[in-house]
């Protein structure tokens, strides 16, 4: 068996194929097995050195799990491994139609918030979820089938915007709920 380096990439760490399409149930199983082996609770009665190493490994395994289980983080990580720069979100190459669309989303969200209309927010959230799904399908094709990293990077840049918007919608919904509960 190949020696396993502490700095091995997350796919190697979990002994999973390096791909965007991932068997999440298998990933979770591997994560738990890895934690079973390295978690500090296994070394509570051990020497300081073993405890320190266990802490480092367990943190590394957690980081790998967090990265691989989220599709956006996983896509970004794959691009990083492939040496493909994602560029910042202020990339001027971002196409203007997409930016316009983002503005419209934001305005709609703002309006729903001001109107205290959770239904409208939820509707936006559902629509956005569909958009996200479609984008992730594109990413999967670009990464796993065609090896088109630049295309995938472009998708990921959009996804970063869209996920941020999704979080904002969630926060707005949460704020409305709390207001309601406190009323």
């Amino acid at each position: 068996m190949e020696p396993l380096e502490f700095n091995a990439d997350f796919f190697t760490l979990f002994q999973l194929p390096r791909a965007f399409r991932l068997d999440l149930a298998e990933l979770e199983r591997r994560y738990r097995e890895a934690q079973q082996a390295v978690h500090p609770d296994r070394f509570a009665a051990a020497g300081n050195e073993a405890r320190r190493v266990s802490l480092q490994w367990a943190a590394r395994v957690n980081e790998a799990w967090q990265t691989l289980k989220s599709p956006l983080a996983r896509a970004r990580y794959l691009l990083e491994l492939a040496g493909q720069a994602i560029g910042t979100t202020s990339n001027p190459a971002m196409d203007s139609a997409f930016l316009m669309e983002q503005m419209e989303w934001r305005e709609a969200a703002q309006e729903a918030r001001v109107r205290r209309d959770p239904r409208a927010l939820e509707h936006l959230r559902d629509r956005l979820a569909q958009t996200l799904e479609a984008s992730f399908r594109e990413v999967a094709v670009a990464l796993d089938e065609r090896g088109e990293y630049a295309v995938a990077a472009e998708c990921v840049r959009r996804l970063m915007f869209q996920e941020k918007l999704a979080r904002e919608l969630d926060d707005a919904l949460a704020a409305l709920e709390d207001e309601e509960a406190d009323a």
């Binding site: 591997r30 082996a37 500090p40 609770d41 070394f43 009665a45 073993a50 802490l55």
Partner: protein, 626 residues
């Protein structure tokens, strides 16, 4: 759930060689201590057969320290020296403490943490908590007939770094070896989950005397995984008492009260609250020091009304935790009620209504946390048998971040990240020739630094002068399984390093602990020395056992030369342990640690590969294993 059965370092090969371990629930109002006896977790009673230990400490005029029921009796007559609910002050400044004006104590605002002036001198909440822990320790050792090898102490899941550190310091003062700080709802989930073989998503609603926690867990065979946690570390049964107290003052139009009278009414308020858990109305009747008689009747509906905002506050936290876990109410299979305050009918009703199901009350809400802690302590101490084996994956309750320009925070580790967690963040200089950089670590969810809790400030000096933006300063945050943070910073181009354990701003330094230890056993100064020596000897012995077990287990990972070096270091330590030179023992331990560093890495590497290859150890060809 035996994935692979290798005996871990430090774990005894001989099954009968049990290590004595206990779980301690250090509560706001009551504390409990529990242990595992013949495979069953049990709460240990005091000599009078009472399981609860009131978390009350009194410094008497005779210079004695009384803890528990006896201390409680003196509350009204000696309020300033009888300290209750001190957990609320752990890791907190005077300004952080709710209703501070109604408390009878003389606070001294020490940097970082409030202290209390008593007739025995100024005491920190850490010292006072240590007195409670000492009694718990004595109780456990008397029952078990020997010295405790280690304990698990529970803390509210929503405790921040300062509060956790304070709890750990208190344990150190009480001479306890802390195997783990365990979150209270997680401890309850262990007790409940193991008892009921529960699987699925569970919510643990834990309303204690002074704190509220909500944890959402995914229970599956052998794994307790916390998905999200939330709460309020200053919301508990005490606040319900306080609502009744305020109601009583208003209803009876009372003038400003003496400290003793305030305590007296608070005690009656608490009794009324407890009475209302079983009855429709409660009487509050007592005679004040002025001779005035207070006689009021509080009915359940009025009580529910005056405490409604408190209950709603808990439900808001529940909502937030569910959202953080990306779950809906309907995903929750069961709601486990923990903490004495969940006995209040209005709490039961509100939780049932929110979740659309009757909450689970089949475990004693006072005891479940201590029982879970005892079970975990037993496991961590190495008293594991093949079948009981599980893994706890817990999370950090509050985000950790750094102050950036403009008084804003930049999050480095988000709340609900699974522990342990390590995260590095790069920063740069913003002025030409800048040679120092201040780093301010905060904990909390708000954007502004001033709204978060300040954990530590430190300065990275000696950055070589460069143009603005050229330096690369990597700040690494490491949060261990107890939720405690260590921060280090390093300038990458020059290698200038600053290592900080985030303690100085409020935690105790080793020197302070030494002074307190000496203080607490003033009349027997030698004892402190002897105890310190003994502690080191015990620790060294543990290290030797662990190293020997590791050699036996995994000696094949080492070359003959490496093995010889480790054996030499063990032998040297073995010899020194017999003597009384603490410093030499410590140095020899460091040496052994150094020699086993690489070994530890190789073993861990082997463990993880073995785990992932899904093979049981029995199927592996392991040399050196009988």
């Amino acid at each position: 759930m035996a994935l692979f059965q290798i005996s871990e370092p430090g774990e005894s090969d001989l099954p009968h060689e049990r290590r004595l371990a206990a779980g301690i629930d250090l509560g706001t109002t009551y504390s409990l201590v529990a242990t595992v006896k013949s495979g069953m977790a049990v709460v240990l009673n005091d000599a009078a057969g009472r399981p609860l230990l009131p978390s009350i400490v009194r410094y008497t005029p005779e210079g004695e320290i009384v803890v528990g029921y006896a201390a409680g009796e003196a509350q009204a007559e000696d309020p300033k020296n009888t300290l209750v609910s001190v957990k609320r002050f752990m890791g907190r400044g005077v300004r952080d403490i709710a209703h501070v004006e109604t408390l009878p104590y003389d606070f001294v605002d020490a940097p970082g943490m409030a202290k209390l002036k008593t007739r025995a001198g100024v005491k920190s909440p850490v010292e006072i908590s240590a007195e409670i822990l000492k009694v718990a320790r004595t109780r456990a050792e008397a029952h078990l007939g020997g010295e405790l090898a280690g304990v698990v102490i529970t803390v509210p899941a929503y405790f921040d770094d300062a509060q956790r550190q304070a709890t750990k310091d208190a344990a150190r003062l009480a001479g306890l070896n802390v195997l783990r700080l365990l979150n209270e709802p997680t401890a309850a989930a262990v007790a409940y989950g193991l008892d009921n073989a529960a699987e699925g998503i569970y919510a643990i609603y834990d309303l204690g005397g002074g704190t509220f926690d909500i944890s959402i867990l995914k229970l599956s065979r052998g794994v307790f995984e916390v998905l999200a946690t939330g709460g309020d570390s200053a919301l508990g049964g005490d606040d319900f008492d306080h609502r009744i107290f305020c109601w009583a003052l208003e209803a009876a139009r009372l003038p400003p009260l003496s400290a003793g009278d305030a305590r007296l009414i608070m005690t009656h308020a608490r009794e009324a609250k407890e009475f209302l858990s079983r009855h429709d109305r409660a009487q509050i009747a007592c005679r004040l020091s002025s001779g005035q008689v207070l006689d009021l009747t509080l009915d359940a509906a009025t009580f529910a009304g005056i405490s409604d905002t408190l209950v709603r506050k808990t439900l808001n936290a529940v909502r937030k935790a569910l959202r953080d876990a990306h779950l809906k109410v309907a995903d929750v299979k069961g709601v486990v009620m923990v903490g004495g305050s969940t006995r209040m009918p209005q709490v039961q009703r509100a939780v049932a209504e929110f979740f659309g199901q009757e909450p689970l009350n089949n475990l004693d809400p006072d005891k479940v946390v201590a029982l879970g802690a005892a079970t975990q302590a037993n496991l961590l101490a190495g008293n594991r048998s093949g079948q009981d084996d599980w893994l706890l994956l817990d999370v950090i309750p509050l985000s950790l971040g750094l102050e950036i320009m403009g008084g804003l925070t930049e999050k480095v580790i988000p709340r609900n990240a699974t522990l342990p967690a390590t995260r590095a963040q790069d920063f740069t200089t913003f002025r030409d020739g800048q040679t120092a950089m201040a780093i301010h670590v905060v904990q909390g969810e708000r954007e502004m630094v001033s709204d978060c809790r300040s954990l530590a400030r430190f300065e990275l000096r000696g950055i070589p002068p460069m143009v603005a933006g050229a330096a690369r300063i990597r700040v690494t945050f490491q949060v261990d399984a107890d939720g405690l943070l260590a921060v280090s910073a390093r300038e990458e181009t020059s290698g200038v390093e600053a290592q900080v354990t985030v303690k100085p701003s409020y935690g105790l330094s080793d020197d302070e602990v030494a002074v307190m230890l000496k203080d607490s056993i003033r009349h027997a100064r030698d004892d402190a020395q002897r105890r310190a020596l003994k502690e080191v000897q015990v620790e060294a012995q543990r290290l030797i056992e662990a190293s020997e077990a590791a050699l036996k287990e995994d000696g094949h990972l080492l070359s003959a030369e490496e093995t010889a070096r480790i054996e030499t270091a063990i032998a040297r330590l073995q010899t020194l342990i017999l003597g009384d030179n603490r410093r030499q023992i410590t140095l020899a331990m460091d040496d052994l640690g150094f020699e086993t560093q690489e070994f530890a890495h190789r073993r861990m590497d082997q463990n993880i590969r073995r785990a992932l290859s899904g093979k049981k150890v029995a199927e592996l060809d392991l040399p050196g294993r009988a």
